[in-house]
Symmetry: C2
C-alpha cells in the first residue's frame, strides 16, 4: 500500500498513531491521527481501523501511547482490549505490549521508566512479525491453490489489516505472482461492504482479475462450477478449530461443502484462542441495526426497522478444509492439530511437531 | 395496500397505467403514469414495477394499452414480453391479452375493433384471478406453517407484486392472522434490497413482528435454531420443479437443507413453464454492474469495478420441500406432480388429479 493502514508517529509530531480511515475508502484516503487511547478506541469501535491482525498491532501501539503519555497504562489496556469482543488479536496485542511495559519497570501510576519505550518496541516487533507471518502464510497457502484458480473471498484480508500483505489476501497475491490466479471473486460483504470497498480497492491496486458480487450470488457461482477455492481470514479460532470470521463466512463454508469446493482459512497463530474450547465459547459481537437499515447515511428500510446484525459467525471445524498459519497448514482441522500448530506460540511446540502437521 | 401497485386509468385520464414506483420505496410513494408501451417497458426494465405475478398483470394491461391507442399490437406485445427474460408470467400475461385481442377481431394494423376492450377485460380478469390465487395460496400454504413459526423470507412477494396479497407473503399474512407467526426474518436481498425496502415496508404496514438481516447472516440464524421455515416466491418454475427466483434463493435452499429447515416456494401456476424441461432451460437475466457497485447513486466500490450480477438463481427440485400454488401443494416436488398441478391451466387436468397431489 502506498498509504499504510497504521503508522506510529514519534515526537515532535507524536507520540500518536496515524490510521488510514477505512470507513472512507475507496472514495477518500483520509488519515486519522489518534493522540490518545480514547481516540484510538473510538477509531476501533467505528471500524476506521479493523481486521484481526491489524487490531493486534493497533492495540499494542495503544498501550505504548498510554505509557509514553504517562496515562494509567493498565486502565488504558483494559479499555483497549474491550473495544471489540470477537477478534482475539486485539487483546493479545494489548497483553503483549502491557507485559513488555511491566517487565521494563512500568507501573500503574504512569511513571513510565523504561516501560514506554519497551511497549513501543514490542508493538513494532508485533508489526514486523505480522509482516513476516503474512509472507509465511503466503508461502504455505500457495500449495493449496491449483493452477488457473478461481478464488472466492469474503471481507477484507490484505495490507489494510496487516503489518504485511495480510492473511488470505497474501495467499491470493502469491497465487497471482505465481501465475495461478485466473479470477478473484469478491463477496461484497454486507452490511459494511468490506469486500466491495476494501478488497476491490486492494485487488485493483495489485492488478488482479476480479469482480464483486452480492453475497447471495456466491451459491450460483459455485453451482456454475466457477469457484475452485474459497479463501477467507479469521477473527478468532477456537481450540477445536471452529472459526469465527465476518458474518457470511459460515454461509460460504456450508455452500462450499455442498458444491465440493475446498474452504480454506488463513490466520496467524495469534488468532488461535486455546482458552475457547469451541465455537460456542467465542463471543459474537452484535452491532447496531443502523448498519443494516442505512447505507452511507441513506435509509434503505423503513425508519425504526429492527435488524439482526451479528458482526461474525462461527464455522465448525468439520466444514473447514484447512487452516493456513505462518507455522504451517492445519489439515485436517482437528483439536489436536490446532493445539500443536495454532497454539505453538503459547505451548512452545517443537518445530518437528509443526512439520508433522504441515505434511 | 392503501396505494395499489398498479392501477388502470380509463379516459379521459387514460388510457394509461399508473404504477407505484417501487424503486422509490420506502422513502417515497411516487406514482408513475405510463401512457404508452415504451414507457411501460422502461418502468419494467428499471424495476419500477416488478415481481412475477404483477409483471403478468402489467404485461396484459400493456397489450390493452397498445390496442386502445391504435398502436401495432403484435409488435408492442413482442417488445413487452422481451422486457425481462426470466419471469414467465410477463410473457404469459402478454400472450393471454394478445389472444383475447385477436379473438375479438384485433389485427396488426391497429384497427382495434372490439380487440382493445377485450384485451382490457382479459387484463382485469388476470388481476382478479391473481387476487383469488393469492387467497388460495394463503389457505393451502397455511397448513405448512407450524405454531410459533419463525419464517425467513427473501425478496418481496406481497401486495406490491400481486393483484392480491401476493405469494409467499400472503401465506405469512395468513399465518399472522392465525396467530402462528412468532417472527418474520427479512433477508435484505442485495443488490436491489427488495427485502429491506419493500418487504419491511409491507411487514410494518401489516404489523408483523419482523427484523431485517444481511443475506450473509441467514446461515447463522439457522445455525442458532431460529428459523422454522424458509418461504419464498418464484419467477419461473421448470417442468422438473426447478425454481428460478431472486438471486440468493438457491443459497437459502442449500442452507435450509444443511440445517434441516423446510424450504417452501409459493407461486401461481402461471409461473410454471412446462416448455422449460429443467433449470438449465431457464434464461437467467444478467443485470448491470452498477446495481452492485453503487447504492442510491453512491459508489460503494472503486469506479469501473466489474461485477457478477445475475438477477436470479435456480434451485433444483431436490432442495425444495414443497411448492404452494392456488390449486394445491406440490409435495414432493417431482416432474409428475408439477405436470399434474402446476400445468393444470395448460393441460386442463381434472380436479380429482389436483386433489390427489394436494393430499
Amino acid at each position: 500500500m502506498s498509504i499504510p493502514a497504521l503508522r506510529w508517529l514519534d515526537p515532535p509530531a507524536g507520540p500518536a498513531i496515524e490510521l488510514l480511515d477505512q470507513t472512507r475508502l475507496p472514495a477518500r484516503e483520509e488519515i486519522v491521527t489518534c493522540a490518545d487511547v480514547p481516540a484510538l478506541i473510538e477509531a476501533i469501535r467505528r471500524l476506521a481501523v479493523r481486521g484481526a491482525p491489524l487490531l493486534g498491532i493497533a492495540g499494542a501501539y495503544g498501550v505504548a501511547l498510554a505509557a509514553l503519555r504517562g496515562d494509567d497504562v493498565r486502565a488504558a489496556a483494559a479499555d483497549l482490549a474491550a473495544a471489540r469482543p470477537t477478534a482475539v488479536n486485539l487483546s493479545w496485542g494489548v497483553s503483549r505490549a502491557l507485559a513488555a511495559w511491566a517487565a521494563a519497570g512500568g507501573n500503574c501510576a504512569g511513571g513510565a521508566g523504561g516501560g514506554g519505550p519497551a511497549a513501543l518496541a514490542e508493538a513494532a516487533d508485533i508489526a514486523a512479525r505480522d509482516a513476516a507471518a503474512s509472507a509465511a502464510m503466503a508461502g504455505h497457502g500457495l500449495a493449496l491453490v491449483p493452477p488457473g484458480a478461481r478464488i472466492l473471498t469474503h471481507c477484507n484480508t490484505g495490507a489494510l489489516v496487516s503489518g504485511g500483505e495480510g492473511t488470505a489476501f497474501a495467499i491470493i497475491l502469491a497465487a497471482h505472482r505465481a501465475g495461478r490466479l485466473a479470477q478473484l471473486w469478491v463477496d461484497e460483504t454486507r452490511p459494511l461492504l468490506q469486500g466491495a470497498r476494501l478488497t476491490a480497492y486492494e485487488a485493483r491496486r495489485a492488478g488482479l482479475p476480479h469482480a464483486v458480487l452480492a453475497d447471495g450470488a456466491a451459491a450460483s457461482l459455485m453451482a456454475a462450477g466457477a469457484v475452485d477455492l474459497v479463501l477467507t481470514g479469521a477473527d478468532r479460532i477456537a481450540a477445536d478449530g471452529s472459526v469465527a470470521n465476518k458474518v457470511g463466512t459460515y454461509s460460504l463454508a456450508v455452500l462450499a461443502r455442498h458444491h465440493g469446493v475446498p474452504f480454506v482459512v488463513a490466520a496467524p497463530v495469534s488468532t488461535v484462542d486455546l482458552d475457547a474450547p469451541d465455537g460456542a465459547a467465542i463471543p459474537v459481537e452484535q452491532r447496531p441495526a443502523t448498519e443494516v437499515i442505512t447505507l452511507g447515511g441513506q435509509p434503505i428500510a423503513p425508519d425504526g426497522t429492527d435488524a439482526y446484525n451479528p458482526a461474525f459467525d462461527v464455522t465448525p471445524p468439520s466444514l473447514v478444509t484447512a487452516i493456513v498459519t505462518e507455522r504451517g497448514v492445519i489439515q485436517p482441522v482437528t483439536a489436536g492439530n490446532v493445539r500443536v500448530l495454532g497454539g505453538a506460540t503459547l505451548l512452545a511446540a517443537p518445530p518437528d511437531a509443526v512439520s508433522d502437521v504441515e505434511r
